[in-house]
Structure formats: C-alpha cells, structure tokens
C-alpha cells in the first residue's frame, strides 16, 4: 500500500473511514432524477423539485436533438403509448404522438369517434381493453373532469392527463413554464432554476379553462405570482381560494407584467350568457397593441391555442414582437418527451 497525499488539494479534513459500499464504477454526484408520481393527473401532483426536473430534462433533450438529421432517440424502444382521446384535439394529440415517436415508443391512437365507444362501451371497459393490449402509458383527454383519475385506478401503466373537462391540463402548464423560463431566465442560466419573483397575467375564460387552473398551480409552485383577469361571469366559484390574485380590469393588471397569457373564448362550452356580445368582450378583455405595450419591455405574449383572432387577441399582437405562440407548440413536443421519459424510463413496464 502506498500512502500518497495529493499535493494540489484544498485543505479539508482528511476522510477518516471511507464508506465501503461498492457503487459499481459510477460514483456520480447525482444518479437519480427527482421522482415524478406514477401518473401525471394534475399540476398539483408535481412538487417544485419534480417540476424543475421536467423542465431541466426537456432542456437536455432539446440539446440532444437540436440541429440533428436524425431527430429520434432509442430511449423508449418497445414501449407502447396509447393516445386515448374522447374529445377533439389536434395539437395536443399530435404533440404527444410526435413526442412518443421521437423516443421510439409505439403509438396507438384511439379516438372516440369510429371506435367501440360510439357503440356504447364504457370508459372502464375501454381501459381494460388497453390494459390487455399492454399499454405502458395512456394519454387521456376526456370531456368529463376527473376521467383520467378514474382511469388511473384501472390500468397498471402511467396515465397522463391531456385535458379533462374544465379541470386540468398539466402538460400545457409545463410547456408554458418551460417557455417562460427560456425567455425570462435564459436558456444558459435555466438549469435548476424556478420562476421566482416573476409576474404572469392570465386573461379570459378562466371558468372553462383547464389551462388556467393547471398554470396557476404550477406557476405558484415555481414561485411566480399569477393574476387572473376575467369578467366576473367567467371566473369559477371558489377561485378566491386559488394561489393567485384576481382582477376585473385588464389595463391595471397588465402594468409591468413579465408575461401575459390569453385564454381562448371557448364558444363550444358557452351554454349561458356570459357576456353581452363578443365585441364587448374584446373591448374589455382582448389584447390589442395598446395593451401589449403596458407589459414589461421584455415581456412575452402567450396563448395555448387555438386562437380566436380578433376576439381575445388582435392579429397584430399574435404575430408581433414578443409573441411566443408558435414556440409554445414546438416546446410542447420537447416537454412531453421529458414527461414520457421520466414516467416510463424507470418503470418495469406496467403491463408486464
């Protein structure tokens, strides 16, 4: 045995008895990612560590495939992801499909239209069918709030909520947080960072918006203050207990905000008279160029899509400086890849 004392070392107390647990050849500083819950049903399921892990992972995945000819990773080879969509959706379904395919998972698209659901099959029987087919993850969109929660009790794979009624849409909140972090913190300084001390204004149809609810939960977890702005008729009962501020006056709320997120006026859910006319809504709560100028100089404009141009957002704003709406769509794929990686890579395959 040689006794060698390295000569260029910081003066720390020498280790007395080194631990003898063999750790293979990898004594890395951090070998395990922050754990996500088995299912991603609500933005509230993510604590700060888990949320930041998703955002950091997305950033790394983006680095790994940026500028490459082959934009595909072998990570989830042999895994099956089922897109179970009971409600119309283009961008979310395609986004999940692209994300799963870029990770080499097999993707099965299942939409209620043209399936046995239209013959009267129940959600539970559909779930058991998927279970029997060996789905490792089920991405579920449903018009009933809580449907993914029920589904999670019936299948052994991971369930990802891709929007349930007027309840939640956690991956949208994650991609919004990812987009915010890139712009407000900066790509190079973002690793491990939250969105502390920032101010985001969310405007529009909060009552019917699962995006708003998930964003309020996630952004407050990440240290951002959120203000909801809507006419009183479009705010849900109990909103005062949410971790956010509430205002009825858009101009005042926008002053100095780091970001403004416009919500779509969901005409398909408007079964009552929530405001007198669309024109009046636009006057009070639409984002035009004048209002755009009220937010911080480097502030950004967001919209989860699809947009009603001329209703909640003026075309000149949607296509103008600081609008990150198309970037949100691109980031959606990356963030969903991160979610699928973190949910599926560690598991043994639920449907084994």
């Amino acid at each position: 045995m040689t006794t060698t004392t390295p000569d260029t070392t910081p003066t720390t107390t020498p280790a007395t008895t080194p631990a003898t647990t063999p750790a293979g050849n990898e004594a890395d500083l951090r070998t395990t990612a922050a754990r996500l819950p088995r299912h991603l049903l609500s933005a509230a399921d993510l604590d700060r560590d888990a949320a930041i892990e998703v955002l950091d992972t997305a950033e790394r995945i983006d680095q790994a495939i940026a500028g490459r000819e082959v934009r595909k990773l072998p990570t989830l080879r042999g895994r099956t992801v089922v897109n179970l969509f009971f409600e119309d959706s283009t961008r979310t379904r395609i986004s999940f499909e692209v994300a799963a395919k870029r990770l080499s998972a097999d993707v099965i698209n299942f939409s209620a239209k043209g399936s046995s659901v239209s013959k009267g099959e129940s959600l539970k029987d559909t779930a058991l069918t998927l279970q029997a087919m060996g789905a490792d993850a089920v991405v579920c969109r449903h018009s009933a709030s809580g449907a993914p929660h029920r589904l999670a009790g019936w299948v052994s794979g991971s369930v990802v909520n891709a929007g349930d009624g007027t309840h939640e849409h956690p991956t949208q909140a994650l991609l919004d947080a990812f987009t915010l972090r890139r712009h407000l913190v900066g790509r190079d300084r973002s690793a491990g960072a939250g969105l502390d001390g920032r101010h985001v204004v969310i405007v529009g149809d909060v009552l019917h918006s699962r995006v708003a609810r998930s964003n309020v939960l996630l952004l407050s977890t990440l240290g951002t203050s959120v203000t909801l702005v809507a006419p009183p008729t479009l705010l849900p009962v109990g909103v005062e207990s949410w971790p956010c501020g509430i205002s009825y006056h858009l101009d005042a709320a926008l002053a100095g905000a780091d970001a403004v997120m416009m919500l779509r006026v969901q005409r398909e859910r408007m079964d009552g008279a929530f405001f007198p006319t669309v024109r009046e809504y636009t006057r009070g709560y639409g984002l035009d160029l004048r209002r755009r100028s009220l937010i911080a100089d480097d502030g950004i404009v967001m919209h989860p899509g699809p947009m009603n141009r001329g209703v909640e957002i003026a075309p000149a704003v949607a296509d103008g400086d600081g609008s990150v709406i198309t970037e949100q769509v691109a980031n959606g794929v990356t963030v969903r890849m991160a979610v699928l990686y973190l949910l599926l890579s560690g598991s043994d395959g639920g449907a084994a």
Partner: protein, 208 residues
C-alpha cells in the same frame, strides 16, 4: 433538498462541494481497503501523455474531443488545453450525454440528463475522440457510438480513458489509456477531478 448542481460549462475550475453521501469528500489516504492509484500530479502527467499520443496519431486531421458527462467533460477540456499548448491549436471540445441511449433504463429510477453540446456544423468528417474517466463494461461507449451516429458521420471515432479497469462486456477497447488497473468485480474505482469534486485523485476501494 437537492444541492446546487455543478455546472460543467465555462472554464472555471472552481471547486464544487461533493454531494452528501458521496464516497469521499476529501482526498482519501490508502488504508486497508482503499488504494490511491493516481495522485493529482500523476493525473497531470497522464493527461500530458495522452495529449501527446492523440496528437501523434491523429496528425493534421480535424479533431474534436467529446467528453461523456460527468467527468469525461473536464478531462476532455484538460486534454484539449494540453494539446493546444503542445501543438499550438486547441481542438474543439464537446459533451455528449448518453443517458437516452442506455440499455439499462428499465427497472431503475429515471436518471437525470446531462449536458450535450456538439458543434452546430455537426461531426461529419471529423475525428471524434470520446473521453471518459473509467472504461468498465464498455456499454457507455456503445451508447456513445450510437448517439454519435445519430449526430452525423465522423471520419473516425477514437476512445481515450483515464482508467481501464477491465471486465468488458462488449468488444470495445480504448485507443489511449491513462492507466490499466486490475480490479475485482465488486471493487469500486473512483475518479475525482477538481472541476466536479474539488480535488484530483483516482483510488480503488476493494470489495470487502
């Protein structure tokens, strides 16, 4: 709860405190079951030698050193610095995270991803020297070669490691080896570098 993660960007070699629960928090001394294989000075000389060897064998070919996180990246940077000193031109340094290419992702908790940074122009036609701290089963290098193939078509791929501890599970060998260390299967080879751990050392903890 998570300590601030060390950043491998930038050239500062500021010491970063090792995570709690890590094997050593300061340079170890040889004891009944721990053998110091390379001291800080030994590591410096070894890096110099490998730098010379790489220069000798790649000649004028355009070369990039690609480190495998974590500790391959500071090693690649040191090699590039030395090659720059010896030859006058410092080769580019990249970093390639292979986590998404691993073959053992199932059945264990998800791993955090590390930095990937390769030139925007790609790696086509370059001599890529992969740099890692320990060569063991060879599976990491297999994954790195798969990842490189998705990035482009290098003229050649070479492998430089600080320590080869044997026990290969794949037909892979290193072109440049700092030190061969015969080990038993249960031994633990720990490479510590100033950039990630605050000090330089290589030691072996023998299986009890």
């Amino acid at each position: 709860m998570e300590p601030e993660r060390p950043r491998l960007t930038g050239t500062s070699a500021a010491s970063i405190p090792a995570a709690s629960g890590d094997l050593f928090e300061s340079p170890p001394r040889s004891s009944a079951n721990t053998a110091v294989i390379l001291s800080a000075a030994d590591i410096g000389r070894t890096v110099d030698r490998i730098a010379h060897q790489i220069l000798e064998s790649v000649g004028d070919a355009e070369t990039i050193l690609v480190g495998i996180p974590r500790r391959g990246v500071p090693l690649a940077r040191r090699l590039a610095d030395r090659m720059g000193t010896f030859s006058g031109t410092r080769p580019d340094v990249g970093s390639l995270d292979i986590t998404l290419y691993r073959d053992d992702l199932r059945g264990r908790p998800p791993r955090p991803l590390e930095e990937t940074r390769l030139p925007d122009s790609g790696v086509d036609g370059l001599v890529v020297v992969l740099v890692d701290d320990v060569l063991y089963s060879g599976r990491t290098i297999r994954a790195a070669m798969d990842a490189l193939r998705d990035h482009g078509r290098p003229a050649a791929i070479r492998l430089a490691v600080l320590v080869d501890r044997g026990h290969r599970q794949l037909p892979i060998r290193a072109d440049y080896v700092g030190k061969n260390i015969p080990t038993a299967f249960g031994d633990d080879v720990a490479v510590r570098l100033a950039e990630t751990d605050g000090f330089d050392a290589v030691h072996v903890v023998r299986a009890a």
